[in-house]
């Protein structure tokens, strides 16, 4: 079946490097040609094994995954071999780069819906195949969806992917028959709430969430909450302050992007993916049958409408852009080069926003207002339980009728459940603390020295306050429902 695979040589001499197209902490990606194969153009990811923090076991799993998966929408490795201290992974060269680079270079306000559906459908095919194989991708985002000039779309980067059939810990010898994972992986803005937070682990549905975020990313040019520092976006998610499905509607209904209209099918599809409760999200297979994908155009359509305008004017730009930027600025080629493992977090984009991890209420509100619009302005002063936490404010300030109705609905829906969840949340503070520590460690590994301890304490303090706020909120809701 997969044996029509060409045999690429396992020898550095057989390849001629053309240029570097990206660089990360311990890996670089090159455009190269394979000389004995009619100078076929390839991409070579060179991972510095001495610098790489990843252990061999995870590298082994990644290369194994890449050589055993076989699907038109999945980026395979042709081969991999070591060259001195580097591991070279030879892959097809995808000339248009990632959807992230396409969007940010040519469609900063987002892609048209009829193109989004094409890209998403191809991606969903890949996800459906992966899940069927028992693999979770765990890092789905536009930056990991690569496009070739002929319109072929491939999901890439299995650096943090996991197989439910392969227990990660060899020592304990446990089988993961429960089909759930517990270690934290992914990129904050695209991470599902249960990945950040859950006690029971997460499954395939975490990829569906990231897929939904990716849909919004393609529609708006950036993922929701990306105006926040990544850590905070995580907090928002786990404390359920932010209704992602609202985001899509509110940004299209008001604010400066008001000229963008999306179909009901699209909004509904995204809403399904962004269900807080993973069990309510559809499987990839099911999602493929959603009306949004029913009258989806073929890849020719995006070749004509997206890629050709790229290749005429933008293609050269992207390549040179990446080439120049690759050296001194990793911001844009983050999608081409994934740093090993931890770099999947990619905190770079927010360098500037990082130092005030917990912005004050004022700065926060002003940051919100262009997006949150009327909500914030309508907020009665006294309603804010915690004066400093304006992210708390976002959740509490939905005092306009719509939001109130919705909130009432949520609370009335199952008060016991909410209480139960809050108790869980309380219990999980310690758990989150540990995870936050991991994040902070990852951060401080790449950033200037920061006082970890202090930051951690601050974070715990913050979580406590938020928990209090949640309690108050629940209490009030309880009262309301008693009264009502």
């Amino acid at each position: 079946m997969a044996r029509n695979k060409l045999e690429f040589p396992l020898d550095a001499e057989a390849y001629e490097i053309i240029c570097k197209i990206g660089v990360g902490v311990s890996a670089s990606v090159y455009k190269a040609v394979c000389l004995p194969m009619n100078s076929t153009v390839v991409a070579i990811k060179a991972i510095d094994l001495d610098q790489s923090r990843a252990d061999f076991d995870s590298l082994r799993r990644e290369t194994k995954t890449m050589s055993l998966l076989s699907h038109p929408n999945i980026l395979n490795a042709y081969c991999s071999f070591t060259v001195d201290r580097c591991l070279w992974v030879v892959m097809p060269f995808m000339s248009c780069g990632s959807l992230h680079s396409i969007v940010s270079s040519s469609f900063p306000e987002g892609l048209p819906e009829n193109c989004i559906s094409v890209f998403l459908k191809e991606t969903l095919n890949a996800i459906s195949y992966l899940h069927d194989q028992g693999h979770l991708h765990r890092d789905i985002k536009a930056g990991n969806i690569l496009v070739d000039s002929d319109g072929s779309v491939k999901l890439a980067d299995f650096g943090v992917s996991a197989s439910i059939y392969e227990p990660v810990t060899t020592s304990s010898g446990t089988t993961s028959s429960s089909l759930r994972l517990t270690d934290i992986a992914g990129t904050p803005y695209w991470m599902a709430p249960e990945v950040v937070h859950s006690h029971t682990g997460y499954g395939f549905k975490a990829d569906i969430w990231s897929f939904g975020i990716t849909a919004l990313e393609l529609a708006h040019g950036r993922p929701p909450l990306s105006h926040l520092p990544p850590l905070k976006s995580l907090l928002m998610k786990i404390t359920k302050r932010f209704h992602f499905s609202d985001y899509e509607i509110s940004t299209s209904a008001c604010g400066k992007k008001s000229n963008k209209k999306f179909s009901k099918a699209f909004r509904e599809m995204v809403g399904l993916c962004l269900e807080q409760d993973p069990t309510k999200r559809p499987s990839a297979e099911k999602l493929l049958k959603h009306p949004f994908f029913r009258n989806c155009k073929g890849v020719d359509f995006v070749v004509k409408n997206v890629l050709q305008c790229l290749s005429n004017t933008e293609q050269m730009f992207i390549e040179s852009h990446i080439l120049i930027k690759g050296v001194d600025d990793e911001e844009d080629d983050e999608e081409i080069v994934k740093n090993r493992r931890i770099s999947g977090w990619n905190f770079r984009e927010d360098d500037l926003q990082l130092s005030p991890v917990f912005p004050t209420a004022e700065s926060d509100t002003s940051e919100f207002s262009p997006r949150g619009g009327d909500r914030i302005q309508d907020k009665p002063e006294g309603d804010n339980v915690v004066p400093t936490g304006s992210e708390v404010g976002l959740g509490l300030s939905n005092r306009n009728e719509d939001a109130k109705e919705q909130e009432g609905e949520v609370m009335g829906f199952d008060r016991d459940l909410v209480l139960e969840k809050l108790k869980l949340l309380k219990k999980s503070l310690e758990h989150q603390r540990a995870r936050v520590l991991v994040i902070i460690e990852a951060l401080s590994g790449e950033k200037e020295e920061r006082n970890r301890e202090e930051e951690l304490l601050e974070m715990v303090e913050k979580l406590k306050i938020e928990l209090e706020a949640e309690k108050m909120k629940t209490l009030r809701a309880e009262k309301e429902s008693v009264l009502g």
Binding site: R3, D11, F56, R60, K64, L68, T82, L179
Partner: protein, 343 residues
């Protein structure tokens, strides 16, 4: 497909029996060229479905957790006859997806208990020659990852690991882990490590019996390999082996050899910090040995100042209290050494 499976009233044992029949068919089908191609394809598709069904019984699927009773039935029927052998020999005839399913199926079966017995172990004990088949299969690059994964699962059973260690197979790993395909070499390295670390008593027995050739080969082929990744993995594994208490007798002899010390000291000088750090974990055993032979002492004394300087500079990227504690102990040991007359 999952729905399809549910609607069929087949028992797990039925599925195993059907699979066995289909495997027998697949095994023969090459020798029956007159069979219609469409018929053949149909049978192979059915075989693929059956293997996938067995997999979902053992692992569960998105809708259901595995049921212990069904797993036990399946396992029992599977090992009642020679199904594993058939599956292994037919693997080249299966398509990629089915090969992967089959590999996962075989892996899971090794862990299934029936009446609190690992019947896979009993089966393999009576069919140890299957390990030879898997070993040969590994040399076919298209199948290596599948056979390699099955092999690694089978050596979870001590009796099987013992057989492999006592056979000539173990020698092949010195070459396998240096194969140019990284994914295959890494698979071999994982198996090699498993063989030499999982079953403590078996490993200790093997090392005691085979000390001479094993460490000679280990040094020359792996620790002195020109391949960075081979050296790095080998030095790490050596540390794991020697630091295991069950191998203390072997360790004591290892750290009394001047040749071994020379190789370790060279690794300490490597440009790669990862290798240096791992080398330190073995080197410290030479230094900490309270009955150092005179020639070892003399080498250490002769290089005293260089060693002290090198070790003082050696620091892992991450703070590591234990490393620092070990290091200061080694520094003290070496600093206190005086030249000794060779007896």
């Amino acid at each position: 497909m999952k729905g399809l499976f549910k609607s069929k009233p087949r028992t797990p044992a039925d599925i195993v029996r059907q699979t066995r029949d289909l495997l027998l068919y697949a095994d023969r089908s090459k020798s029956l060229p007159d069979l219609r191609e469409s018929k053949r394809e149909e049978k192979m598709a059915e075989l693929s479905r059956n293997i996938r069904d067995m997999k979902s019984i053992l692992y569960g699927n998105s809708e259901a957790e595995p049921v212990a009773e069904a797993c036990a039935q399946l396992t029992q029927e599977f090992f009642r006859e020679d199904t594993l052998r058939l599956l292994i020999t037919c693997l080249p005839k299966l398509n990629l997806e089915t090969r992967k399913d089959a590999t996962q199926l075989v892996a899971n079966l090794q862990r299934q208990q029936v009446n609190s017995r690992l019947i896979a172990s009993d089966y393999l004990e009576a069919n140890l020659d299957l390990m030879n088949v898997l070993m040969e299969g590994f040399e076919n690059m298209d199948l290596a990852l599948h056979y390699g994964a099955m092999f690694r699962e089978c050596i979870r059973h001590q009796i099987v690991a013992k057989y492999v260690l006592e056979s000539e197979h173990v020698k092949k790993y010195f070459d396998f882990i240096q194969l140019p395909n990284f994914d295959i070499a890494a698979d071999a390295a994982a198996t090699f490590k498993e063989l030499l670390t999982r079953h403590k008593s078996t490993v200790a027995e093997f090392l005691t019996k085979n000390e001479d050739w094993f460490f000679t080969d280990y040094n020359s082929k792996l620790l002195e390999s020109s391949n960075y990744i081979t050296r790095r993995q080998a030095i790490k594994l050596l540390g794991d082996i020697l630091l295991d208490r069950s191998n203390s007798a072997v360790m004591t002899r290892y750290v009394s050899s001047r040749d071994n010390l020379r190789i370790l000291m060279n690794l300490l000088r490597e440009a790669s910090k990862s290798i240096q750090i791992e080398a330190f974990h073995v080197f410290k055993l030479f230094a900490a040995n309270q009955n150092k032979p005179a020639d070892i002492i003399n080498i250490l004394v002769a290089n005293k100042s260089k060693l002290l300087r090198l070790l003082a500079d050696l620091k892992p990227d991450k703070e590591d209290e234990r490393f620092e504690a070990d290091k200061s102990q080694v520094l003290r040991e070496i600093a206190a050494l005086e030249p000794r007359d060779l007896a």
